[in-house]
Symmetry: C2
C-alpha cells in the first residue's frame, strides 16, 4: 500500500490534535483512502521542548525540512497568523505540494491568490477548518448545494461571543462579567479583541460568502461591529419583543451587490439560530432550490478543528490515489460588487433616554420622518429624574439614512442619551 508523507507546520493546540487524531485513525484511513498517511516532519519553534507521544526525529525547527522535502505530498499549516504561514503555503504550492490549512486570517485576505496558485500547480488547497471549526460547511456549499443560487448565508461563527451572549441572556450577566468568565474557562483569550470586536467572525463570513456567492469577498469588505456595547438591559428588551441577541456574520447576494457584515442582531427566538447557545456555532444558508438549511456544531477546540483538518487530509489522499488533485479549486468565477455599508438596508432597535415631557415623541418622530426612517414599534417607559426611556424598532431602512437620524437626535437637547443601536434580523 502506498504511503503519503505529511508535513505539519505548527504544533500548538490544533497541531497536536491533528497529530493525535491522524495517529488514532491511521487504520481507518487505510480503508477510507486506500493509502497510509504518515506524518513525516513537524515544524516547531522550540525543538528542545519534550512532547509526549511524538518521536523526536519527526520534530524540526527548519521549515525547509518540510517545504523542500520532495517526498512530502501534503503540507498541513496550523500555525495561524499571516506570516510566515503565507510564505510557507506559497512555497509548498509552488513545489506542487497539496495544502490543508486552518488559517482563517490568511484565507480571508489572501484566499484568492492562494487558490489561484494551487490551480496553477494542480494542487489541492483545502481549508474546511478555517470556517466554523468542525462543522462541515465548505464541501456542503461547493458540492452538495452546487445546484443552488445561494442568496443568503449567515451564522454564529464565533464561540467566545456566543458564550458571552448566552451568559448575558440566561443569567442576566453584564458583558464585562461574562467576558471574565469566558476568560477563566479558557473560551476567551487574555486579549479578547479579535473575538469581541467581531474580527474573527468577519474573517469567517468573508470566506463563506466567497464560496456561497461564487465571487471573492475579503476581510476588508466586511462591515464589522462587535458586542462590547451590548448590555443585559438590551437583551431584556429583546426578550420582551420575542427576540434574542446574537453576533451574526451575515451576507446576502442582492441585485445591486453583496451585503456582508458582522453585527450583533436581534433575531426572533423562534429562528433556528436563536437556540444555538454557549460555544456552539451554526451556519444558516438559503438557496433557491434547497430553501433553508442549517449546520451546527463546535466551531473551535482541539479535536473539532482537527476533525476538519483530518477530513481534508483524507480527501487529498483520495485525490492523490486517483490522480485528481485540484479537482475542486476556487469557485469564485464571478466578480460581484460589494455594497457600501451605508447602502445596506436593515431594521434597527434603538434605545434612548429622553426628557420626560410633551413634544419629545413628536420631535423624535419628526427626525425619523424627514430621514425616511419608518417606525415599526415604539415603547415608552417612565424612568427616574424626569427621564423617559424610549425603545424604537424601525422598519427596513438604508443604514446611511438611519445614521443621519442618529446624528441629528444626538444633537437635540431633549435627547439625553442614545444607549443602544442594534440591527434587527428579518
Amino acid at each position: 500500500m502506498e504511503s503519503i508523507k505529511i508535513g505539519l507546520l505548527g504544533l500548538g493546540t490544533v497541531g497536536t490534535g491533528v497529530y493525535r487524531l491522524l495517529e488514532k485513525q491511521a487504520e481507518e484511513i487505510k480503508h477510507k483512502a486506500g493509502v497510509n498517511t504518515v506524518i513525516d516532519k513537524v515544524l516547531v519553534r522550540n525543538i528542545s521542548k519534550t512532547r509526549e507521544g511524538i518521536p523526536t526525529e519527526v520534530i524540526t525547527d527548519n521549515p525547509n525540512d518540510i517545504l523542500n522535502a520532495p517526498d512530502i505530498r501534503i503540507v498541513v499549516e496550523v500555525m495561524g497568523g499571516m506570516e510566515p504561514a503565507y510564505e510557507y503555503i506559497k512555497s509548498a504550492l509552488m513545489s506542487g505540494k497539496n495544502v490543508v490549512t486552518a488559517n482563517k486570517d490568511l484565507m480571508a485576505v489572501k484566499g484568492g491568490e492562494l487558490m489561484e496558485l494551487a490551480a496553477q500547480n494542480g494542487c489541492d488547497l483545502l481549508f474546511e477548518a478555517a470556517v466554523a471549526g468542525g462543522i462541515p460547511i465548505i464541501r456542503p456549499l461547493k458540492q452538495c448545494l452546487a445546484g443552488n443560487n445561494i442568496t443568503e448565508i449567515m451564522g454564529i461563527v464565533n464561540g467566545t461571543t456566543n458564550f458571552i451572549l448566552t451568559k448575558m441572556t440566561n443569567d442576566g450577566m453584564e458583558f464585562e462579567d461574562a467576558l471574565k468568565m469566558a476568560q477563566e474557562l479558557g473560551y476567551a483569550e487574555a486579549d479578547p479583541t479579535a473575538d469581541v470586536e467581531g474580527l474573527d467572525a468577519g474573517r469567517k463570513i468573508a470566506i463563506m460568502a466567497s464560496i456561497a456567492f461564487n465571487s471573492r469577498v475579503t476581510f476588508d469588505d466586511v462591515d464589522i461591529e462587535g458586542i462590547t456595547k451590548i448590555t443585559a438591559k438590551d437583551i431584556c428588551y429583546a426578550k420582551e419583543m420575542g427576540c434574542d441577541i446574537k453576533l451574526l456574520g451575515i451576507a446576502a447576494n442582492t441585485d445591486d451587490g453583496i451585503e456582508v457584515s458582522v453585527h450583533p442582531m436581534l433575531i426572533p427566538s423562534t429562528h433556528p439560530l436563536a437556540s444555538v447557545n454557549d460555544v456552539f456555532n451554526a451556519v444558516f444558508v438559503h438557496g433557491d432550490a434547497v430553501d433553508d438549511a442549517m449546520f451546527m456544531g463546535r466551531g473551535a477546540g482541539m479535536y473539532p478543528t482537527a476533525s476538519a483538518v483530518v477530513g481534508d487530509i483524507i480527501d487529498i489522499s483520495r485525490n492523490i490515489v486517483f490522480n485528481c488533485c485540484g479537482r475542486i479549486g476556487c469557485t469564485c468565477y464571478k466578480q460581484l460588487k460589494i455594497k457600501k455599508p451605508e447602502d445596506c438596508v436593515s431594521k434597527y432597535f434603538l434605545r434612548m433616554q429622553v426628557e420626560d415631557r410633551a413634544g419629545v415623541l413628536a420631535g423624535v418622530a419628526g427626525v425619523f420622518g424627514s430621514n425616511n426612517v419608518s417606525i415599526s414599534r415604539l415603547i415608552q417607559k417612565a424612568s427616574d429624574d424626569n427621564t423617559a426611556e424610549i425603545v424604537v424598532i424601525t422598519d427596513e431602512v438604508r443604514a446611511g439614512n438611519f445614521k443621519d437620524s442618529i446624528a441629528i437626535l444626538n444633537g437635540m437637547s431633549m435627547i439625553k442619551k442614545i444607549s443602544s443601536v442594534i440591527r434587527v434580523y428579518g
Copy 2:
C-alpha cells in the same frame, strides 16, 4: 467545452424538479464543473402526455434509449420503488455509466450490492437525495467527518410525521386529525402507512448508519415503530417533564454491536432536535473528534430533493473531467453485528390506568423490581371511576426485560389498561 449527456429515468415531482433545476443552472455548472451538462433523454410511462418546457424529442418510453445509449454518461434514477429501478441501475452500472439515485427504498435494501457493482465498473453511484432530501449529509459523513469514530447518528428524517407531531404538540390535535390535515396539505399520501408506521424513516436510518459506522445496515435490521399510538395526552405529559415527542431514526455503534431503530421518543426540549418542527428534517451526529454536529433542512419536496440530485450530477461531472469516477465508493469496510432489539437499552415512558386503591403501586413496583427495571420517576394522578393514572419513567433498561414486565402488568387485574409505552432519549 465537453458536453456530458444525462439520461433521466422518471419525470414525476422529483424528475421534473431535476430537469428544471439543471436547465436553470446550466451556465453555472459550466463554471463549476467545466463541462456542459445536457439532458439527452427522459424516460416516462406515457409519451403522449404534453409536458410544458420539455421538448418532445427528449421524451421516450423505452429504457434502452438511455441504458443502451453509449454517449450517456450519467443516469439519474428518480422513479422510486424497487422495480424496475433496481434492474435499470444495475444495467447502467454494468455498462459503465455513473448513476445518481434518490431511491431510499432501493438503497436501504440493495445498497451494498449496487455500490459493489459501481466499484467493479469504476463508476460513481451517488445518492445524497435518498436521505433527508436536500440536507447535505452523505458527503459530510464520508468526507468532512471521515477522521471521526462516529458513535451515534439520529435524526428526524420524515417530514410527514414531524408535521403531525408538531400539530399535536402546538395545537393539541389528536393523531387522526393531524394526519387528515397533513393529507389535505399534501404532506401525507392517501395511504400514509410508509410515513406514519416509520418505514420511510427506517430506510433512511439504515442508509445513514451504514455510512456513519462503515458497516452495512439494511432496512431489515431496523427495529421500527410508528407514531399511530401517540396521543395528545402523551405529549402533554412529556411537556410536563420538559420533553417533546419526536419520531427518531436512531443508530448507535456500541461495543456489542449496532443498535438501529425508529421509534417515537421523548427528547428533552432543550435538545437541538426538539426545536426542529413542521416538515423540517434534521440529522444529529456524534463523533469522537467533532463532538456533536447537526444538519437541518427540508427533507422532501420537488426542489430540495432536486438540489441534492443536481449536486450529485455536478460532482460526477467533475469526476468525469478529472477521470476519477469511483473516487469515493462504498465505505462499509467493517462487518459489525446488529444487536437484537430486545438486547437494546433505553429509558421508557409508561402511562397506565390502574385501580385507585392501596397496594397497586407496590404491585407495579414489584413487577418492575423482579425484572430489573428501575424506576426513575413516577407520577400518580387521580382519575374518575376509582381509576388512577400512573406515569412512570424508567432508568435505562434492556428492552427484553421491559417487555416482560409489560406482559406481566397486562395480566394483572389491578391494571386496567396500559395506554402508552414510549422510549425516552438520553
